[in-house]
Symmetry: C2
Subunit: 376 residues, 2 copies
Amino acid sequence: MKSNITDESDESSDCSDTTETDCNTSYFTSYENLEVHRLMLNDRPRTESYRHAILQNRALFQDKIVMDVGCGTGILSLFAAEAGARKVFSIEASNISLIARDIVRQNNFQNIIEVFSCQVEDFILPNSEKVDVIISEWMGFYLLHESMLDSVILARDRFLKDSGTMFPSKASIYACPSNLNGFYEQEIDFWDTVHGYDFSVVKQIVLQNKQQSPQILSVDNSELVAGPEIVKQFNLMNVTVEDVKQFQSKFFTSSMEKNICRGIVLWFDCEFPTELKSENSLILSTAPRCPPTHWKQTVIVLPTEISLQAGDVIGFNIKLSQSATNHRHYNIQVEVLSDEEDHPMPCNCGLARCKLIKTFMQEQDELDGNEVIDIS
Amino acid sequence: MKSNITDESDESSDCSDTTETDCNTSYFTSYENLEVHRLMLNDRPRTESYRHAILQNRALFQDKIVMDVGCGTGILSLFAAEAGARKVFSIEASNISLIARDIVRQNNFQNIIEVFSCQVEDFILPNSEKVDVIISEWMGFYLLHESMLDSVILARDRFLKDSGTMFPSKASIYACPSNLNGFYEQEIDFWDTVHGYDFSVVKQIVLQNKQQSPQILSVDNSELVAGPEIVKQFNLMNVTVEDVKQFQSKFFTSSMEKNICRGIVLWFDCEFPTELKSENSLILSTAPRCPPTHWKQTVIVLPTEISLQAGDVIGFNIKLSQSATNHRHYNIQVEVLSDEEDHPMPCNCGLARCKLIKTFMQEQDELDGNEVIDIS
C-alpha cells in the first residue's frame, strides 16, 4: 500500500483585475471546498433555524413546490422534503451539486428533490409551473457580502407564484458603535510590547491595515457602547436589485456610560414566516448577544477613537454600495456626524427633542394601527 | 471623519503553473502579512526557545558577529543584540524588513543590528569578514516545507567562520503511526450523519481529499499507536542542499495495544548549542506530547486503515523529495511494508531478533565510546 502525496498547498493569493466572469468563477469554486460546507452545516444557529422554521411550519410546505436557491449540499432541500414538499427544485452552480445529488439519493428523496447544476439565472422551470416557496440561505458577512441576494430576487421574480412564500421573508442589517476591546487586546495591543521589546511601530501599521477593510470577528455584547440601530430592512417579497445596490442610513445614538468608540459593528438577522399569524416568527440573529455563528460580526474600525461620557450622543452615516469592479463586494463608508447635523425622525439618541418627536410619532403610528418596532 | 472601506477580500486561489520566480514571489509576499508574524511571535514554545537559547548562552554571542537569516520582524536579532553581539546582520527578503528596521531603531539597537532587504542569496557581507554565529528560524511544517533550509545552508557555506556556530545546530524529523482519533471525530465522522441525514457519500470524498495532501493538525499524544522513529537527522554544521533534496527512512515499530493505524504523524525538533558542554542542550520540540506550536503536526492519512493487536509490528518506508515543479514543496511518500521486508539494523520493533541485534549494536557502540540515542 502506497500513499503518494504532494504538498502543493500554497499561500493564498488575491485575484486582482477581476472581471465579472472571474468573480463568479472564484465565487463558485470556493464553495466546492467541503470544509466550507462543514463549517456551515456545523453552524447550529444557522442550520437549526432553518430546520425549525421549515419543520415547525409543515403547512407551508405540505404538497407544495419548493425551490432551493444555492442548495449547497442540499440540507434545506432535505428539510423541505421532510416537511412534505411535493417537489423541490434544488439549484446549485458549484460542483457541490453532484454531491448534493448523491446525498439526496442516499436519503431516498430522489423522487421529491431534483438537483440542477446551474446558476439560477440559467435555470428553466420544467413545464414552467411556478413554485410555492423559495428557500435559500443566501446571507453573507454583514448580510450582503457575495451579493447572493441578487440571485434570490431574480429567482423570486421569475419562479415564485404571486401567493408564494420566501424563506426567510425578511432581513435586517444593524449597526452599533463599539469599544472593540477584545479585538484591540488580541490583535492591536499585542504589538505594544513583544517579548519585552517595543513593537509599537507595527501596531500603527496593523491598525491602518485593519481600517482598510471590514474585519470579520466576534464582538462581545459588553463591547457595544450604545443601543443598536437598524441600517436597512429588506422585505424579501418585494425587495429589488436596485434596493440592494446602494443604500445608506443616518443615525444618532447615546452612550450608556463613560466609554470609547473605536468602530462600528454590523450584523444582521433574518425572519422566517410562520403558518400561524399569532405565533412569534422565528428569527436567526447574528447579534453579539446571540449564540455565535460562522458569520460572526463585521467591524468597521474607525481611523480615530471617540471618547464618550454617559449620555453623549454620537451620530453616524453608513453607506453600503456594491463595488463597481466586483459586484459581489461592497464598499462600506462610515461617516461620523457632527453635532450640528439634523437628526433623523424618529431618532433613538435620547436627546429631549428626539425623545419627544419619537413618542409623538409612535402615538400617531398606534392610532394609525401600524406595527411599531423599537429596538432601542 | 470618514472611513471608506472596500471589501476586496476574496476567496483564496491557488497558483498553478508555478515557476521558480512565482514560487519565490508568492513565498516572500505571504510574509508581509503581519498576522503571520503575530502568530509566530505569539507561539511561545517557538519564540521562548530561541530567547532562552540565546540569552542563556551569552558567551556564544558576547562581542560576536551574528547573522540572522530571514529575520522577519527582527525578534531573534534583538535577542542576539541583547546577548551582547557586536554586530548583527539581519537579512530579510520580504517587505517586513522595512518594519524590522523601524523596530530596531525604536529599541535603540541601530548601532548593532543592520537590516538588509534582500534574499540571503544576493547578500554581500560588508568588508567580507565572516560571521561567528548564524541564527535563523527557518523551520516549516514537517521541518522542510518552504525549503528555507536551503538558504540557511547557503548562508553557512558563504558567511560562517569555520569555528562558527549554527543556531539551532541540529534538527530531526520524527514519524509515528497514529489512530488519528481526534481528526476522524472532527473532520471525517462528522459526515456520517448531518442533522439526521446520511451524508456518508461526502465522508468518502473528504477522506480521499485528505489523503491527497499532508494535513496540518494537532494530534494528541494519546493518539500515537506505537513508539516514534527518527526519519532524518540534520547536523546544521555540515548538512548539504543535496541531503535535503530527497531522503527516505524505513522503520518497523510495534503497537502498544489493540488499536488502529490510520496515518503517519510527522513532527520535528531542533537543538540549540550551549556554551557549557556539561549542560543539557535546549530543544524546541513540536512533538504531540509538547506544548502546541503553530507548526502543529503534519499528518499523512493512509488510504486504508490497519487493524492492530498489542505487539503487532508495522513497517513503513517514508520518502520525502522536493517537488520538481516547486522546490518549496515536498512530495511525501509513505509505503506500508509487508512482513517479509528486511528490518533495518538497529530496529526498534521489539521482535526478538531485532531486540537482540539492537542490544548487541548498543553494546558495541558503548565499547566504541559513541553516543547512543534511544527514543523508543
